[in-house]
Symmetry: C2
Subunit: 133 residues, 2 copies
């Protein structure tokens, strides 16, 4: 079996680029600087379902992206989550949170996403490329 | 500075025991098998604020506990989250989720916890000791 992206992740998040293990994707939500890492491995639901070296590699990719996102977004707090109750394909959320933001201090998951105009979206995808460097 | 537990974590979660880096604590919530790992390091908010070897150690402790919790609870999905919007001291949530549970398929964070009778609570603390082995 080879890696195939879940169609809901494909629809909800634009590809920014790839890291050694994972796709880095930007969620289509105007409210937050919110990315997901999706390891390019087939049939993995839980983080611990990955082979042990991949578990560590995903951890390292999460740490690197989280730290860059905090700096880039001047965030109050980074939220990291691996839930997967709806989309079972393993994906890790990394979200820049600011005091007083649309969901503060609650979680962002389970709240309706806010669409963006296409030009705004294209700009944000461009802006977030720096997370890959 | 030495490690001091945030009083809200002390109140909301009972100590099950310690791993090399972290306290393992059980949340006082009747709805879920829900634990938190709290690294015993002072002044750490973000996972990437830990020294790099501690970052990996925390990751390994999260993986080990998550895998045991999934087996113990026969969970549909494990949810892992490091939020910290309210309690800033670094702590990682690991929650056994079941299809149709009280928050399914949403996150558990930000919803009111359900208290337990003291005997029920003591039993659960006993039952969960296996996560340390």
């Amino acid at each position: 079996m080879h890696f195939e992206l879940d169609p809901r992740l494909e629809k909800d998040a634009a590809l920014l680029g790839t890291l050694p293990l994972s796709q880095l994707r930007l969620m289509r939500d105007a409210r937050f600087a919110w990315v997901v890492l999706v390891p390019m491995r087939a049939n993995v639901c839980e983080w611990f379902d990955l082979a042990p070296p991949d578990q560590i590699q995903l951890h390292q990719e999460v740490m690197a992206v989280a730290q860059k996102l905090k700096t880039l977004s001047v965030a109050s707090k980074i939220n990291i989550g691996a839930l997967g109750n709806i989309v079972r394909q393993l994906h890790v959320h990394i979200i820049a949170r600011h005091e007083g933001d649309a969901c503060w201090p609650g979680p962002v998951w389970g709240t309706p996403m806010h669409a963006m105009a296409p030009h705004e979206w294209a700009e944000r995808v461009q802006h977030m490329q720096v997370l890959l460097r």
